[in-house]
Symmetry: D2
Subunit: 356 residues, 4 copies
C-alpha cells in the first residue's frame, strides 16, 4: 500500500485537486472563498478554453489536436450567481476517448515522463495515463484560479495577472520588445489573440511556423514565460517562510515541465555591482517584491520550461503539444491568482483597523 | 495591530523560527524529529560557525567583520546525547552590541532593504534592526538544518548535501570546472577550505581579491550557487503540489537575497530541442527530479543572488558582507537538509511494507 | 463578503466535505488514503443506507419519512476495485424535492436551529435549507468513514467500531445491560437489527412505541450513545495536543446535536477516591486511553444528544426525526473510523523499524 | 527511532509547546499574535503563579508542596511593553531539584500514569519524569493563554473567562449555588480567594478539610469544573468541523486528567422532551453556542476530572496534589482564551466589511 498526499494548495484560500487523466474526470474543491463573490461562469469557461488542447487561433493550431470538451459542472458553493461562502466544488468529466491505451503505457515507461519515478515510489505505474502526473491535472488549477480571478476582478479590479511567451525554443524576444509589451499590455486576452501567446506579430508568425513543423515532424521545444502581476495590492507576503516570492516560486515550480524561476532581474542580478544595482530602483530589478513583501509595483517573474517529452511518443503524432507553453500560460496565471488571493485573505489579519 | 505569520516551515519535520536580530536572541523549535537520533553538538556548532560573520580562512576575511559568538543552548528534546522524540528547542543569545543604533534605522529606511515594505505592511519599521527580515534570522534555519543533518548522517550516510559558489559578481567558473568539482567533491567541508566557498584555487584567489577590495570601498556583489544533493533517497516528493522541486524552490527562495532558482539544465533547457534533450538523460538535464519525485541521481539546483544592499550603508564600512554568498551557502544546505528530511518522513507513509 | 472554513478534517487522512443540503448534492474528497485498499462499494452503500432517512426495520419507521436515495458516484481515486493512492472523490446528488421551501426558511429563523447564529455570522440565512449546518452534511462524513472502514477491515480486521443507543429520552439501559451488550457484541450490524439501535429487545420495543407516538404528536427526544472501539491498535494518539481522547472528543462534538462526551468512567470518575479508582484498572475506568494514547483495550466513549429542534416545525409533521440518535450512530462510527485511521497513518512515523 | 508530533495548537493563533518536566525547562512559541498588544508581564506572572504548586491561600495549602519558582523569560516578540507581531517565545527554567529520581521512574511504571502506554508507543519510558505527559507541560499552555488574555483584555474587555470548581470528590455545589455564583462573578481573581477555587465559603472550608486530610493520608479526588466565557464575541466558530464547541471540547480534553466535557445542559439535555427544551431558550440549555457558532450569550462548559494517580506514589507523600482541580482551573482558562482568540482572528476573514 502506498499513499499520496500533497493535493492541497494554499493556506487561507485552500484548494484540493482530484481526479485522474483517464478516470471519470478532474475536479477541485475550494475551501475559504468568501461569500458574495459574483460567480461568473463565463470566466470559468473561458479559462478552461484557454488551456484546452485543440484550440485554434486564426485557424492555426500549434497545440495538441486532442478534442476535449472540458465542460465544468458546479457541484456546490454557488447560488443565484454568487458564492455562498461554503466550499466550492467543480468537476469536469473526461470524454470516453481518454480511457483507452492503458496497457500500452503500463508496459513501457515513456522516456522523460514520470512513469519510472512513479513506479519507484508507488510500486506501480498508474495504468490510467499518468494519473496525477498528467498535464490534465492542471484543469483543476485553472478552475481554482478562475474563482480567484472572479474575486480579484470584483475587489481588486486594478490588479491584472498576465503571462506571455518570451521565448519558444530558439526564438526569443529582445528585452526592448518585452519592455514595450509589458508597458502596453492590459489584459491576458490581448495575449490570446496570438496562437503562441507571444504577443508580437512577427515573432508569433515565426513560432507558428516552427511549431506547425515540429508537430508534423515530432519535435518539441521549451522556452520562457513572463508572468506579470500589474497593480498588485502592496503588503502581500510574510517576512520569513511565506515570502511572496517563495510562494510564487513554489506555485510555478509545481507545474510539471518547469525548470526554473526568476524574480525581476533574476540571473542578471548576479553579475551586477551592488551600489549601481540598488540605486537603479526599477521594477525590473526587484520584481515588485522586497523583503518578501509586495511593494505595489508590478511583480515580474520569469518561468523556464523544458521541451515536452510526449513528442517522443511517435505513436501519437499530432496529439502532442510541440511546446507546452501556449497552454501552460493560463495555468501559470491561475497559480498566481490563487497565491495573490491567499495572501490577500492572510493580510486581512495583518492590519490594525481590522480588529473591532 | 498587525500580525505576522509564516514562521513555520515543513510538513512532517516542522520548524518554527523565532527571535529578532537586535532582541534577546534567535531560536528555533523543531516538532517531528524522531527519537534516538544521535545529537552531535559538534555538527551544530560547526554549522553555526560556518554561517557566522567574522569567520576567516587562512587569515583572510571576505565577510562582515562583526563578531558574534552564536553559542547555542539546547533547551529541550535532547537527553544523554540523543533526541527524545519531543520538540527540540535551541536558542542563541545576541551579544549586547546588537542592541544599539535603533533610532537611526527607525528614522531612515535603508535603500534595498525591506524597511519600507515592512513599514507599509506592519505600519512601523521594526526598530530592532530589521527584525525578522534580518539575515540573522537564518541562524534558526542553520540550527534546524543541523538536526536534519544529524539524522541524515545516521540514517542515510551516503546522502551528502553540498553547496558551492559558481559565480561571484563578474567572476564565474566554466561548466567544465563545475563538472570536475561536482564529480570529485564528497563533503561540504572541502568547500570550506576556500574563503569564498568557490572550491577552485585560482578563482578563489581572484574572488578574495575582489571582495577584500569591495569591502574596503563599499561595493557589493551577487552571484550563483550550486546546491548538490548527492546520493539522495529515491522516491522523495509528491506528484502534485509538493513536488520535490517545488518544495526546494520555495525553501531557497525564502532567503532574503535570492532572485531565482533553476533545476538541472534550467534556463538552458529552454532552447533545446526535445528529442535531443530527452535522449541525453544525464543528471545535468533533469537535475535528479522527474515528475516531482527524486530519481536517486544527484539533485542539482542553481540559486541566484542579488548584491547585498547593506553595502550602501556607508556608516558601517567593514561590518557588511561584500557578498552574502559565502555565508549563505550553509543556509542553503540547511534548507535542503530540512526539505529532504521532511520528505523522508512523509515517504514513510508511502510504502506498502510499512503498514502492519 | 464572508467566508467559511473548517471543512477540512484530519491530519494525515484528510477529508474535505462539500455541498449544501438543498443544492446539487453532497460530496467529499479524501487525500491521504493509501493505495491498494480494496474499495468495497457494498460497504459504502450500506453505510449510507444506515444513516438514510426513511429507513425501516421490521416495517417500523421511527425516523424521518423523507425519501432520499443517496446513491454515491465515485469521481476519482478508485480503479478496478482498489484505491489508487490518489484523492478519492465521492458525490451524492440531492433529489429534486430538496430544492423547495427556500423562501419559507429564509423568512423565519427556526427556534433551536442555527439559522439565527448563521445570520449573525454570515449576514444572511443560507436560503438553501440550512446549508452546511444541515444534518445532511453528515453524508460526507459517512462516505469518509466508509473508506476508513474498508482500510481497517483489510489491515486491522480485529478492530471493530460499534455504537449503540444507551438512552433515548426517559428510556435508559442499566449499567448491567450495557456491560452484557458490550461484552457480547461483535459488529455494528447486530445493532442495526433494532430500529432504535438500542440492542436490547424489550427496551427497543419501548423506544419504538415512544418514538412512533412522538413522531405523530410532534415531540422529540435526545439521549446517550455509547461508542466502542474494540481491539484497537495500541499506541495511537500523541502525548500533548493530539491525545486520542482529544481528537475523538472533537470529532464527536462536531456533530450538530451533541452536548457532551465522556471517556470511560467519565462523570462517574469525579466522585471516586483515587486509590480505589486506580486500583480497579478496568476498561470501564480508563476508557482504553491513558496519557492520550490507546492501550489496546476497548476504547469507550459516551456521547450525549439534545432533542432535535425540527420537531417544532409543525408544517413538516412526519418528515422530522423524533430522535436523531438512530441515524446519528453511523455518523459517530464514521467519525471514529476516520480518527483511528488518521492516527494509524500518523503512527507509521513513530516506530523505529519503519525507517530504512 | 520514534517521533512525536502534535505539539502545535491552534489554526491562526498558533502555539508550539516544548520542554520536559525534568529537563532544562518548559517553553512556548506563539506565531500569529498581532503586534501592538500591550504585553503585561504582571498578567503572565500572575497566571503562572495561579497554576504553581506550593501556592497557599490564607496559609492553607491543598496542593502539592513542591516549590517551583516558574519565572518566565521573554525570549522574543516583545519590545517596549508591546508585542512586535513576530513570534513570541517564552521560557521557564526548571530548578535543579526536578532532575533527580530518574532511574526509579524508568524502572517501574506508575499505575494510572502514562508510563506504560508511553513505553508501548515510543519503546522506552522517558526517563525524565514523564517527559511531555507530565502536568508540568501545562506551564506552556498557561503562558500561551496569558498572551491571549492580554489581547482579550485590550480588544474585548467585556469578555471574561472564568472557571471554578463545582465539585471535588464527594463535595458538590447545588445548581442553585452555581446559578448564584455564575450570575454574580465578574473575574477569575474572585475565585482565587478560595484555596479550592470553589467560590462558596462553606463548601470551600469542607473541601479544604477533605484535601488537607487526603494529602496526609495519600488519597486523591477528581471533580467537576465549570468554565464560563462571559460576554463572548458572537459569531465565533465555523459551521462544520471547527464548531466552537468542538474546538473547546478538544482543548479541554487535551488535559491529562479530564474524562469528559459537556456544553450547557449537557447530559441533562438527554432526558428532556424537545418542545419543552427548545422553548426554554436559556443560556443554561444551549451553553451559548448554536450551530457551532457563539450567540453572544455566556458560553458554559462542564469539565470532568478523574482522581490524580500520583497519590499512589507513597514515596512522595506531600508532594502530590490530592486533587488537581485547583491548579487545573487556570490551565482550562488558558485553553479557552487561546481558542477564543484563535476564532476571533479567524473571524476577521469572515466579514464583508473587512475586505478593502
Amino acid at each position: 500500500m502506498e499513499l499520496m498526499g500533497g493535493n492541497l494548495f494554499g493556506e487561507r484560500f485552500q484548494l484540493i485537486s482530484f481526479g485522474e487523466s483517464h478516470g471519470v474526470g478532474l475536479g477541485v474543491v475550494i475551501d475559504g472563498c468568501p461569500s458574495e463573490v459574483i460567480f461568473d461562469e463565463v470566466i470559468l469557461r473561458k479559462e478552461l478554453e484557454r488551456r484546452r488542447p485543440g484550440q485554434k487561433v486564426n485557424n492555426i493550431s500549434i497545440v495538441s489536436d486532442r478534442q476535449e470538451l472540458d465542460s465544468p459542472e458546479i457541484l456546490s458553493g454557488v447560488y443565484q450567481g454568487k458564492t455562498l461562502g461554503t466550499p466550492i466544488a467543480m468537476f469536469v468529466r473526461n470524454n470516453d476517448a481518454r480511457s483507452q491505451d492503458y496497457n500500452e503505457i503500463a508496459q513501457k515507461p515513456r522516456p522523460g515522463h514520470a512513469d519510472d519515478t512513479w513506479k519507484m515510489k508507488f510500486g506501480h505505474t498508474d495504468p490510467r495515463g499518468g494519473g496525477r502526473s498528467s498535464g490534465r491535472e492542471t484543469l483543476a488549477r485553472v478552475m481554482g484560479g478562475a474563482v480567484a480571478k472572479m474575486f480579484l476582478n470584483q475587489c481588486f479590479p486594478e490588479t491584472k495577472i498576465i503571462a506571455y511567451a518570451k521565448q519558444i525554443g530558439p526564438l526569443k524576444l529582445t528585452p526592448e520588445d518585452c519592455l514595450e509589451i509589458e508597458t502596453k499590455i492590459t489584459s491576458p486576452y490581448e495575449v490570446d489573440t496570438f496562437s503562441s501567446r507571444c504577443p508580437h506579430a512577427i515573432m508569433n508568425s515565426k513560432i507558428e511556423e516552427l511549431l506547425v513543423k515540429a508537430k508534423q515532424e515530432g519535435r518539441s521545444y521549451g522556452g520562457e514565460v513572463i508572468v506579470l502581476i500589474k497593480n498588485p495590492p502592496s503588503g502581500l507576503g510574510q517576512p520569513v517562510f511565506h515570502k511572496l516570492k517563495s510562494d510564487l516560486a513554489s506555485a510555478f515550480m509545481s507545474l510539471g515541465a518547469t525548470t526554473g524561476v526568476e524574480l525581476g532581474a533574476g540571473h542578471e542580478a548576479t553579475a551586477a555591482e551592488g551600489s549601481q544595482f540598488h540605486q537603479q530602483q526599477t521594477q525590473a530589478h526587484y520584481g515588485g517584491i522586497r523583503g518578501g513583501i509586495s511593494t505595489g509595483e508590478t511583480i515580474q517573474f520569469k518561468v523556464f520550461f523544458k521541451p515536452t517529452a510526449t513528442v517522443l511518443d511517435t505513436a501519437k503524432k499530432g496529439r502532442h503539444d510541440p511546446c507546452i507553453i501556449p497552454r501552460a500560460i493560463p495555468v501559470l496565471e491561475a497559480m498566481a491568482q490563487m497565491v495573490i488571493m491567499d495572501h490577500i485573505l492572510w493580510q486581512r489579519q495583518d492590519r490594525a483597523s481590522l480588529i473591532r
